[in-house]
């Protein structure tokens, strides 16, 4: 046995924009154990369920995270709508799908940039974030906000995307598609990228299932789970199948997210092609929620889980948000075992950690 010592990783670390701490037990330069600590910025958003009425909680849910804000708002609204037993107008469903996929694109591009920066490829980082800016411009054009959209409400959406703006989305996505093909070739073919990612941080399908991992992190290990299959929003009417890899390494996680960018473009194009020309964007909601519902949606980082329970009063009895990063940390710690100390920063990045989500 080599020299065993404990090295603290985080809560402040160059690869971490948000605080998480991991005690790394190392033997020489090999990690043998990883013990995580979270909770540095726990905000107690769930406890607001008893202090804000169910309509106001849409804005609370959206502020769970600055990156997947839209999906948080949508997931919460869909849960409450199930309790009311209402179906939102079709155009609202399509609008939700378009915004959700745009949000996925900006999140994946953000992650690809951070990953490139993590393995020292700064030019690639700039390119990813430059393209991401174009998606953020589309957010601003259609919703008014670049990160927090505030377009969801229980029963539908608050804003429409008019025809000229839908055309602008299509035009921008055509250009983004071309630009993504250039950076895809770098991520998939560049020797230095491959040497930093291929065969690093391998998790098997069995390990991922045992440890409850979700999202692209799980799909990279062959787990065919994508909550869009459940058929919320307009996904049942679009051509969609989860993208899966069986390699289970860091390269596969990068592959999944890169291919999901193209899948999002395809879904947005299809949704814009099929969006019905109706005026109604919401259904009236009468009364207060009475009942409970478990809602699952696929955020950029994986399955997010919303539990809502009401008792016929404006204030909910319980709002529960289980975020994907919260589910992915146990598998991350398993992945860190036997890793080289030098790879730890990169491996933490490969789960696309979102600590503000986790610390809801």
């Amino acid at each position: 046995m080599g020299n065993r010592s404990v090295i603290p990783f985080g809560p402040q670390h160059p690869v971490l924009p948000e605080p998480i701490h991991i005690d790394l037990v190392v033997e020489d330069e090999k990690v043998v154990e990883a013990v995580p600590s979270i909770g540095f910025i726990h905000r107690g958003l769930e406890s607001l369920a008893g202090k804000r009425d169910f309509n106001q909680l849409v804005y609370v849910a959206e502020r769970t995270c600055g990156i997947c804000s839209f999906q948080h708002g949508m997931g919460y609204c869909e849960a409450v709508e199930h309790i009311f037993g209402v179906e939102v107008p079709k155009r609202a469903k399509y609008l939700r799908t378009i915004w959700a996929e745009l949000a996925r694109m900006h999140s994946h591009l953000l992650w690809l940039g951070l990953l490139a920066d993590g393995f020292g490829y700064e030019n690639l980082f700039y390119q990813c974030w430059r393209i991401r800016e174009r998606i953020l411009d589309l957010h601003e054009l259609t919703a008014g906000g670049r990160l927090i959209f505030s377009v969801n409400k229980v029963g539908g959406v608050l804003k429409d995307i008019p025809e000229d703006k839908l055309k602008e989305i299509l035009r921008t996505l055509d250009e983004v598609d071309d630009e993504l093909r250039v950076i895809r070739s770098v991520f998939f073919e560049d020797r230095s990228v491959i040497s930093r990612l291929k065969g690093v941080g391998v998790l098997t399908k069995e390990q991922v299932n045992e440890l409850g991992a979700v999202g692209p992190f799980a799909r990279a290990s062959g787990v065919r789970v994508d909550m869009r299959t459940l058929g919320y929003a307009a996904y049942p009417e679009l051509s969609f199948a989860p993208i899966v890899s069986n390699d289970g390494d860091s390269y596969a996680r990068c592959f999944i997210r890169m291919m999901e960018l193209f899948q999002s473009i395809k879904l947005i194009r299809e949704a814009i092609g099929k969006i019905p020309a109706e005026k109604e964007l919401e259904v009236p909601i009468k009364g207060n929620p009475d009942g409970e519902y478990f809602m699952r949606v696929e955020q950029p980082r994986g399955e997010a889980f919303y539990y809502v329970k009401g008792s016929g009063k404006p204030f909910l009895e319980r709002m529960r948000i289980r975020t994907p990063t919260f589910a992915n940390i146990p598998a991350l710690c398993e992945m860190l075992k036997n890793a080289d100390l030098a790879d730890v920063g990169l491996l933490v990045l490969t789960i696309d950690p979102c600590i503000s989500c986790t610390e809801r």
Binding site: G39, H42, E210, T229, R296, F326, I329
Partner: protein, 126 residues
């Protein structure tokens, strides 16, 4: 879209004494652990343990309703992924959970207030 017959969600009420047995049975039946949470409603804890099916996305939730003083066994020996969930239930609500495989002893979250979402303590400091 890919066609899968997704079954209706199942909410199964069970007892504390059957929790480990049912968790193990669901795991063996091809369910993966999805989440667990506590609620404090009408002076009782409602604990929900959700599992989703690998193949058809079916959601099966085990629900136990207990008095705040009742001790619940940890499922982490069967479901290692439940560690954070159980620590959270213990820390935010004050659910008495025994034998969590990694027990953070109320230090998972750096919060000043003890069990902020659980029963309000009377006669003492918060």
């Amino acid at each position: 879209m890919e066609q899968i017959n997704i079954p209706e969600d199942v909410l199964e009420k069970t007892e504390v004494s059957d929790l480990l047995k049912r968790a193990l049975e669901l795991k063996k039946a091809g369910f993966r652990f999805s989440q667990a949470h506590a609620s404090y409603i009408d002076e009782k804890f409602e604990l929900s343990y959700s599992f989703s099916n690998y193949d058809n996305y079916g959601l099966h939730t085990l629900r136990i309703v207990i008095d705040p003083e009742t001790e619940v066994p940890s499922i982490t020996e069967i479901i290692p992924a439940a560690v954070f969930y159980e620590n959270e239930m213990k820390e935010l609500y004050g659910v008495k959970i025994s034998m969590i495989s990694v027990d953070y002893n109320n230090r998972l979250y750096r919060i000043r207030q003890e069990t902020p979402m659980g029963p309000k303590k009377t006669g003492g400091e918060e």
